[in-house]
Symmetry: C2
Subunit: 1011 residues, 2 copies
């Protein structure tokens, strides 16, 4: 172990419990302007470097500090040879400067005659780079014409006059401060004791953590020194030293480097080096805890050892490197020091990383947490779920109060009512209006509100789903052909299903979903996304059929296009020429039965519908065409979709401040809808609009609000209904729980835990309630739930400039969900507003939802890989570890599974669709035979019972590698007291590589200015 | 000066004339698989590192090698302590290995007993990472199931059996090669003498320069050594050593590092370090020329001194850094060594770069080259232009044969005919068909062909332009009201204008365009782009007026919509109810004059036009509406535009191989046009189509093909026409020359020089010819010319993996231009094909042209800055040097100028439009008062006469800075014998910073394994 690391371990290990404050570092350089001198801020560091663009008078973008090795070695020498004052009692800058100079004189580093000159220089005023208010900038516009010097607007009248007085004869020889008698100058100290208003007002303050302390780096060239004057000061207490720092942050460290003229650039680099060191997590710890000069040197050595080196021929030093998305944490770097304790080589643990892909961690195994453990007790899971959820009740509401919630509510609300209307319409068709749009709205509102209020995962949105629709359709047909009362049979199926769900809850049956790996999850959610996309497109194509375009229309022959209503008697006569058939039979029945006075009608004044109603015939070549509507529908549909996509992307554009961009991105769907609703109103065409029921009554007049359980069916129906109920139960169970697994994905960083048992409990109860009320059944809707989560994602407001905002998690609360469903419920009263929304706009929203939920699915990324040549493929970690052909094979299997499911879904077999998901899980199980556990760990997750096997596998591989290594070294291997719970033991293989402790110094180290 | 730099200067300075070959470096590591050993390729370098992804069985993306400082120091120690064999005579690997081992034994580095073991290890077979053919991959699909070892498919039967035989008892203790007697093994040498077929077939070869030589790095752990075995070998002659290298490139260098077990990772890093060094331009020179070990050490030291260091806390070493767009050239780095000669500090010249933004070069001043020098001789400029152009005649045609030319021809052709039709139509309207579409086509073809064949800058495309159109319009109106013969007057104006142009040519008047700076250029080209965009949008909006949509149409009331033709007598009776007025007067005249038999007509069967023609009235609420056409036009227009934009962008996407992507991008416009022509045909609606004249005759029957100069006008007209001709001359001169300046922009890297005088000469001659033939006048069209250039841009096929393709220049030739215009000429015969193209598609192309020519204009980038918060602005170099408010002010002035020009353009004043460009130049001159020359140099160019002033300015600043520096140091400043012609002297300021030559070695350098 290197002496440096040993030293560090000693000082850092002492009391690790008090975290050191974050350091803000400012570097000021000495500027000579004629006779005057001032300190000018030239760079600052919170975590990354920001430089003052001299000409541009602005801050550069935050970037990674690229240093030269040279400057680091020079800095090392500076610390070795200069004055190091640790824990200096300092209350004001003049006193601190005095102490520094005293020490230098005492150490014989400078002569006493320079004492005043150095003090004078160090006490010059500091000018900071501030953002100028706009009126000052405008006033400045006309000025600075030709001379670049006129750009430094602040002169100091007092100091200037003093200098002018005493140095009048010297002005010809500019900057010859050497012969100046500073004692005569009135302006010995330019620095005020209190922070100026500029400092206090500086908005940059909010980028600096609250507990931060400052370290000031002062770099200057003077003419009276012949060798560098170096001092490193740590104050005993952080003190605000007047105008020293840009922001009112107390100063803890001070690094001063004054030197003779001509080496400014080199000094500058040394200043950047110490500044970069000061913001380094490890070195700043060292600086806080250093006992003496040697500790600091050890800190620099440790830093040097971890440094990353770029070859000069492969990188242009002028490029400012953008801050990375993620940097290694300080803790990890500190832990390396602790590993050293175990006899490991210093540095190579982390710094050896580049190119050492082998030692990358294996993906963490599929973890579902304790929520899905089989308790073995009656209702054990449910009880745990409730216990887990109760503590969050308050925050479930309080966290909902955020502007983001509004956009989420609007977005999901529109999705929900579109869904309710679509499924309501389809259900109405399928069941002869026993369940129509009205029931759909009411049911959605009821079930959704209850679930969001009491469910285990309130982020899940309940909705009607396709399989349920098909089940209802088949059931109604069965009832009609066997003359069984549909509503009563349905009630009993619902009750049985509810009971079955409760049994599943009581027996903790949800634990089996831990066999649902990424493979199944992604297959399911991709399928649902495809259904959304294809439905949206189908609807759109449908409108081309519904509003056929007259493709042979010639504008010039407009005179020949017409559509006339012909009275029935005439129609009969002209039967050979009728282009539109008579209305369907029952309509004719209706007409003939109602006994209108057909002869008294002015047939030519009738509308199309009326004409058909009264038995007239439509004659003419314009009858079957509807102009413009199909095309405008397409424009609205496609426009809504593309505008939403563009606005979502706008978040990462360069324009406008971050907050505005985020707002635009959050409200993108709302803005697109409003835009295209506006466009639709502007064009004024009769596009199909959203129509919500306005009166609170069942769609079918002959049914009431409550279904009676007995009376209409024979007794055996009550029992036999348990069989179809079983199908419904499987359907609901799978649909619900897979959606829940997707919502609870690790990537979403949910903090309040999941509640699979509680969810299923409420879905069951709601089944029964809905059956009694004759409302549709509801279950978790994958795509809308994902959209819900996406619209509630939180990102950190990044603190240090250049730091990437981190995804923090999701605003987990019940408020948005409840609001969505309450709004759905009152939509009946919102009809006057909602009727302006054209359906194509909503189909556009559907399309967006489908496409957006595909994004970020690894399966989808892997499909894209098929189209990319290997060299253009993104650097996915699974590609680093699994051969491409196996990745492709895995994807292919998934595609085939999906194709099979898609085909099934399109047929009557859709009813066993949820069972097919079980099939997916079986396929996944079989893939264990085709793929190695290693590959599957990267592409998917390991199945639970494979975990142990996996571990064995890992050990085997380890042994294998050991064999390769040909020397066991087992005695040297670190034996951690407890096996790491997540990491696969394979990780430890690369660590045991003890270095040769022999040290060989490079014979020709870089030249140094210090000493 | 450091000793290392001095040494290097000596060896590199010796004979700099023979360039050293490029090095390809391959690193192989020793793999133990049970008892067997083999060398496995683990990384390679052409310029950047490519690593073998162990698990992924693929090459990583090329990336910058990130090294650890540690490994570099260790490497240094290795070279210091190991064997260095320079200029070894080697013809085969076994012999070379023998030599290495002999030397090691001789030096006492290894005992003689290890000789055979080391040789055995070094002669193991090498396995390279090859892309597997697809059938092998498929065959491999089912295999590798659980065991990771099954992934190394190549076993060596011979070697294996040999080992099995001799070590049967040792197999339990795997890999115990120490007790093996290699002499017994038949497989002492696994390496064949000749390169294998795999090697020969390797497609990677084409990425390696022809003259390349290989350097092989061999890294391995063995159990029989107790300290590292290091050898660095340079062969006297590069030799192909069988299967050693992945590709059949002769090996020149060999680096071997074998060491005891347990430190593999560290060895690996050392191997990467030497490999990175070997591909470093400077070090590879040193390696080729090194006389002894110390030269190599000096090379490493110099490398270390230039190295760029990233702090560990700000960068994650696992991130693979993408190769930068540009790396510092080796020459520049070598020149630093020469600067050292002048007493400069080593390294800081370049490596001190990061953060030292001040020493960035000033932008090079506005350079127009000798083409625009005022010769002072009669036709001096024209003569020089011809002399400059003659040598290129052959290549002007030969370079045209390229697939890219096809796409360029198609693109520009479509632009040209659209332009010809648009302007033809407008001219026809303006001149009562004296010049119509036919003349426009013919004139375009004639003028364009002649210009492209003989002009100075064949990349310029001639076309009708707006100002000329307005001039013709005014002229025709003047003639009509004063009953002067239009064609004859026009001929005389043309002749005068031609004469004036020739005078301008003879007097080298084009030299004044050197006052056209970026400001004027960008103002002009932005304006033209805006006109294109606004014209395209106007046309599109126009079609909504031309095909009005019936906005109150209700599908249900289709029966009430009709449009009937009513006979005139009936019409009179129903006058109160006529919705469309009768046709205009002359039509009615025509009808009444022609004496049709109106009574015999079936009025209801007439078309709209016929109805109006025969004096009928159109009655009905459908008459004034045209369904669908406006909307489908919009879809075609917008679709063409967006598809073109998307396909253009496709070039930078990840999908499909580079070549296919480039093809798609090149043909994006063609593909978009084809797609939307196809869509239009599919829909089959009667959209407005491109109509080209099909018969070769003048548009107006009463004019011939040649205009006679005398006869119709009084004599004074022939003289007075010189006055309007002057206006035309200014117009043509400005329009032509600014377009030429834009085309000849430095950024386009044109190599064949420009020909401003020659261009103007031909434009003048063509004026006269066109006037005689009664064809429109032609002048350079900015937007189409830019489009022409853009479609002919060449990029280098990047050689080393990871290197960015460089923009090489433009395919400068005459072929595409000539083809475009010949095609335009024969378009009259292409009418049957062209008539399928809907006009909205062409408007989409227009829009694209306008938008595309805005891209890359700095003015446009600066406008965007208004919308960006400072911290999100891109890192433009002018932003680093000019304060934002001044950038904004500059942009604002440009915007105001443009707004004024735009307003002028929209009024009758458009005729003095070219004069306004002169106004722009005056504004630019006045800006010298508002902005400093420093700011203008960054934002614009310096005006010619300011150049000297600028230099003075620079000197003043320099003095200023000197004053700041307070110490002249003038004796130390490098006095270059000749002042640099391009660089402003300011640059030299930062150089004089001689370092303190004292050296202080760091006391505790990193731990090393070597020694």
């Amino acid at each position: 172990m290197s002496p440096a690391a040993e030293r560090l371990r000693y000082i850092l290990g002492e009391d690790d419990d008090t975290p050191t404050p974050t350091l803000f570092t400012e570097m000021d350089t000495l500027q000579h302007d004629g006779d005057e001198m001032e300190w000018k801020e030239s760079a600052r560091w919170v975590k990354f470097e920001e430089k003052v663009e001299e000409g541009g008078e602005r801050w550069s973008k935050p970037h990674v500090s690229t240093l030269t090795l040279h400057s680091l070695f020079e800095l090392r020498t500076c610390i070795q040879t200069g004055s190091v004052l640790l824990d200096l009692e300092g209350y004001s800058l003049p006193q601190i400067v005095d102490d520094i100079v005293d020490r230098q004189v005492a150490d014989g580093l400078i002569g006493p005659e320079l004492r005043e000159k150095v003090s004078f220089v160090l006490l010059r005023k500091h000018r900071h780079q501030h953002k100028k208010p706009i009126h000052l900038s405008l006033a400045d516009m006309g000025k600075s014409n030709n001379s670049p010097t006129s750009r430094s607007p602040h002169r100091f009248p007092s100091s200037a006059s003093g200098l002018h007085h005493s140095t009048e004869d010297l002005r010809a020889k500019s900057g010859s401060l050497g012969r100046l008698h500073p004692a005569q100058s009135r302006s010995m100290n330019d620095i005020s004791d209190k922070p100026s208003t500029d400092q206090m007002k500086n908005k940059f303050m909010k980028k600096i953590p609250r507990d931060a302390e400052a370290s000031n780096v002062l770099i200057g060239e003077v003419d009276f020194l012949d060798k560098p004057f170096v001092a490193f000061v740590r104050l005993a207490q952080a003190t605000t030293l007047g105008g020293l720092t840009e922001v009112p942050v107390p100063t803890r460290f001070l690094f001063v480097l004054l030197g003779p003229h001509g080496k400014g650039k080199s000094y500058n680099e040394i200043g950047r080096a110490i500044a970069t060191l000061m913001v380094d997590d490890l070195f700043s710890d060292v600086a806080y805890k250093a006992r003496d000069r040697d500790d600091l040197i050890a800190g620099i050595d440790e830093f040097l050892d971890e440094v990353i080196v770029l070859p000069p021929g492969e990188w242009d030093p002028k490029i400012r490197i953008e801050p990375p998305k993620k940097v290694p944490s300080a803790d990890m770097r500190k832990s390396v020091l602790n590993l050293n304790e175990l006899g490991q080589v210093n540095g190579t643990g982390t710094a050896g990383g580049p190119g050492g892909g082998e030692d990358e961690e294996m993906p963490t195994p599929h973890e579902l947490g304790e929520e899905l453990q089989f308790t073995g007790r009656f209702c054990g899971g449910l009880w745990l779920d409730i216990k887990r959820k109760v503590p969050w009740i308050l925050s479930d509401f309080s966290q909902g109060f955020h502007i983001q919630s509004i956009s989420a509510v609007l977005f999901i609300y529109l999705g929900c009512i579109t869904n309710a209307i679509t499924f309501g319409g389809l259900l109405g068709d399928a069941t002869d209006n026993y369940q129509g749009v009205m029931e759909s709205f009411l049911g959605t509102a009821l079930a959704g509100t209850v679930f969001c209020l009491l469910g285990g995962q309130p982020l899940i949105i309940l909705s009607s789903t396709g399989p349920i629709l098909i089940f209802e359709k088949l059931l109604y047909e069965f009832c009609k052909s066997n003359t069984i009362d549909y509503m009563e049979l349905r009630l009993w199926i619902g009750l049985h299903s509810c009971l079955q769900c409760l049994i599943l809850v009581a027996t903790d049956a949800s634990y089996i979903i831990k066999y649902i790996t990424r493979f199944t999850e992604e297959g399911f959610s991709s399928l649902i996304s495809f259904i959304f996309i294809s439905d949206a497109i189908k609807k759109m194509v449908g409108s081309f059929k519904y509003y056929p375009i007259n493709r042979v229309f010639k504008p010039d022959y407009v005179t020949t296009y017409r559509c006339e209503c012909i009275a029935p008697d005439q129609a009969a006569a002209m039967a050979f020429n009728v282009s539109v058939p008579l209305a369907d039979d029952n309509m004719t029945d209706l007409v003939s039965g109602s006994g209108y006075n057909l002869t008294g009608l002015d047939w030519s004044q009738l509308s199309k519908k009326e004409c058909v109603k009264y038995g007239g015939a439509l004659l003419g070549n314009a009858c079957k065409y509807v102009p413009d509507l199909a095309l405008i529908s397409f424009i609205l549909f496609f426009g809504t979709y593309s505008m939403t996509v563009s606005l979502k992307k706008f978040k990462t554009s360069r324009y406008f401040p971050t907050k505005l961009r985020k707002l635009i991105s959050d409200f993108s769907i709302f803005m697109s809808i409003m835009t295209f609703v506006g466009l639709d109103m502007l064009v004024g065409l009769d596009t199909p609009k959203l129509i919500v029921p306005t009166e609170f009554q069942p769609t079918r007049p002959d049914r009431g609000w409550v279904v009676m359980p007995f009376g209409k069916c024979p007794w055996w129906v009550y029992v036999a209904s348990a069989v179809p109920a079983l199908l419904v139960t499987i359907l609901i169970f799978m649909d619900q729980q897979i959606s829940a697994v997707i919502v609870n994905r690790k990537e979403n960083k949910l903090k309040k835990g999941c509640g699979y048992h509680l969810d299923l409990f409420w879905v069951g109860i709601l089944m029964a309630v809905c059956s009694f009320l004759g409302l549709p059944w509801y279950v978790a809707a994958t795509v809308i739930s994902i959209a819900h989560i996406d619209s509630l994602k939180m990102e950190s407001e990044s603190s240090a400039p250049g730091e990437q905002p981190q995804f923090l998690g999701v605003r987990e609360q019940r408020l948005t969900g409840i609001l969505v469903f309450v709004l759905t419920g009152v939509s009946i009263f919102l009809a006057p507003v909602l009727q302006y929304i054209p359906m194509p706009v909503l189909y556009g929203v559907f399309l967006y939802m489908g496409v957006a939920s595909l994004a970020g699915i690894q399966f989808w990324e892997r499909i894209k890989l098929y189209l990319m040549p290997a060299k253009h493929q993104p650097d996915f970690s699974f590609l680093r570890h699994v051969p491409l052909r196996r990745v492709h094979l895995f994807t292919l299997v998934q595609i085939i599974c999906l194709a099979v499911l898609w085909t099934l879904k399109s047929t009557v077999a859709a009813i066993i669709f949820p069972v097919m998901i079980l099939g997916l899980m079986v396929v996944r199980k079989m893939m264990d035979l085709m793929f190695s556990q290693h590959d599957l760990a990267w592409l998917d997750d390991i199945l639970p019972e494979k975990d142990k096997k996996k571990e064995k596998d890992g050990k085997k591989k380890k042994d294998n590698k050991r064999t390769k290594a040909a020397e066991p070294e087992s005695d040297e291997e670190p034996k951690s007291p407890l096996p790491p719970p997540v990491k696969i033991p394979m990780d430890t293989i690369d660590l045991p590589s003890a270095p040769d402790p022999s040290v060989s110094p490079p014979t020709q180290p870089p030249v140094s200015h210090c000493e």
